[in-house]
Amino acid sequence: MSAITELALQAAPAGPARGYWATVGRRVVRDKVSIACAVILLAIFLSALLAPWLGLADPYHGSMIRRLKPIGTTNYPLGTDELGRDMLARLIYGGRLSLLIGILPVILAFMIGTSLGLIAGYVGGKVNTAIMRTIDVFYAFPSVLLAIAISGALGAGITNSIVSLTVVFMPQITRVAESVTTGVRNMDFVEAARASGADAFTIMRVHMLGNVLGPIFVYATGLISVSMILAAGLSFLGLGTKPPEPEWGLMLNTLRTAIYVNPWVAALPGAMIFAVSICFNLLSDGMRSAMDIRN
């Protein structure tokens, strides 16, 4: 680089420096895979949300004479299920419950886990030991086993399934939150806040939260994929949603007996779970590498 251009660069007006989050956002937007996943997820979300206004067939209305029609039947583009209900409508309506029971546990676990981790990391000492040793107990169970143990004991139902999955993910988020908070706790700006007389709650809320939230958030988005699979899995076992509600896991279960008659219709609900799960995974990976600004 010549001396002149270097001078020119120095003389150029600096302008407002782009913030950290703006940089992350730009990197995510430039990533084709992330954008494709975001678009697919948005489409699935919106169609589930707007399902009643899309002019679909009634997802509850069955008919004995048109059971298990194959994909591509007139009026039934994705065929019909074992009770003659329109698969397209059920898949789109199914998104409502499936996404709710898949995503809500992660949101709840994110809120509880972040609070617990922040307290454990910031207060330290005995409080930290008490919280973190309790968390360790949950790590003694493989997550599938824990989810099934809790929902199996509580009994079938949407609420119980959400509760059990929240309990599964909460410890993992708490651990991440605690380790991130411990890393930030001794930094100068926290010390400065403490010196200025801020109380612990203010420091945690105002000074720490913004600095720890990013990594915890990215970790949590990575959990949504697992949560979707587990939530639908609980319904698949008969521990989540109850019939006749359209929900992907439950649909997969009730269509299981139809694999000898009309196999590919039976496989459709699983393909939806797969699509949502892989999109969330790729999106989370995209965000993670976008936040790793050093590379």
Partner: protein
């Protein structure tokens, strides 16, 4: 090293007790009376009270827990309400089948995971890396119970190559390593292997990438070492972490087999758990979860100690 092992074992004791407490409490978070599955619908008050005393449900919770734990330590997990057989016998027989499945799945999943991970890490940002990481991400994102169904559709329904459900002739009792039995294992094992395959691939890829970017690799190459020898150093450095991840995955396969065993009617601990849940067989539910969780804790312990003993970098102080 010895002190590390002792400390690690001592640390396990409170975990084991807490795990037992959680399993014990499972019965008590169950809505309704824990007696509900045993009592006939038209049982009299006296019979209910009698049974409550017989099962010890009338005592305070801590006493109940103490008694239950004391019995459990002596291998008595009570009797299954559905079959009347001792819970421990039922669970151990089922766990044997789950171990068979998990080992078969581990052989498949870990081999492909290591292969894909090493290739992806070594040929980073090439098409090989892209293919391997795509397979890995599909592996960790796929609802495995659905994959099981799809494999059954392809290989059992359409091609009729492999059986769809069960564990072969002789049922759950006799397992043999011959094709008559093994063909029942193929689909469940492949289905179980996809998640560990994906996770091992991602871990090993990241490890290989990290190690290859370190200075000592540069030094090895500058010294004139052939690439195959450099690669041996990479494997040596990646081994402890990769092993720990694989150990953990084996634990997940053992404990989280319920969905796949349900799809394939594989007579393992997962299927047992499934029937315990739906028959409200609480002692069996409690016992199965306790045994599986203890397996998991024990496996974690073994992995930690093994990792510390092969990796001199882990602080043992």
């Amino acid at each position: 090293m010895f002190t590390y092992i002792v400390r690690r074992i001592v640390y396990v004791i409170p975990i084991v007790i807490s795990v037992a407490l959680v399993c014990f409490m499972l019965v008590h978070i169950t809505p309704g009376d824990p007696l509900v599955a045993i009592l006939p619908a038209d049982a009299s008050q006296e019979l209910a009270a009698q049974l409550r005393t017989a099962y010890g449900f009338d005592r305070p919770l801590p006493v109940q827990f103490g008694l239950w734990l004391w019995k459990a330590v002596h291998g008595d997990l009570g009797h299954s309400i559905a079959t009347g057989r001792p819970v421990l016998t039922e669970v151990m027989r089922a766990v044997g089948n789950t171990v068979t499945l998990a080992i078969a799945a581990a052989i498949i999943g870990f081999s492909f995971g290591l292969l894909f991970g090493l290739l992806a890490g070594y040929f980073r940002d090439t098409w090989i890396d892209k293919v391997a990481t795509s397979i890995a991400i599909a592996g960790v994102s796929v609802p495995h119970y659905w994959l099981g169904m799809v494999l059954v559709i392809i290989f059992s329904v359409q091609l009729s190559w492999l059986p769809a459900v069960g564990a072969g002739p002789g049922g759950s009792g006799q397992w043999g390593w011959d094709w008559e039995h093994m063909k029942y294992l193929v689909l469940p094992a492949i289905t179980t292997s996809v998640i560990p395959m994906g996770i091992v691939t991602r871990t090993v890829r990241a490890l290989t990438g990290d190690i290859l970017s370190q200075d000592f690799v540069e030094a090895l190459r500058a010294k004139g070492l052939r690439e195959t020898h450099v690669f041996r150093h990479v494997i040596k450095n990646a081994a402890p972490t990769a092993m720990a991840v694989m150990g953990l995955q084996l634990g997940y396969m053992l404990g989280g087999s319920i969905l796949i065993e349900t799809v394939f009617s594989w007579p393992g601990s997962g299927l047992l758990l499934n029937s315990a849940i739906f028959q409200r067989d609480l002692p069996l539910l409690q016992g199965t979860i306790l045994v599986l969780a203890l397996f998991f804790v024990f496996l974690n312990l073994v992995v930690d100690i093994a990792q510390a003993s092969i990796d001199p970098r882990i602080k043992r102080g």
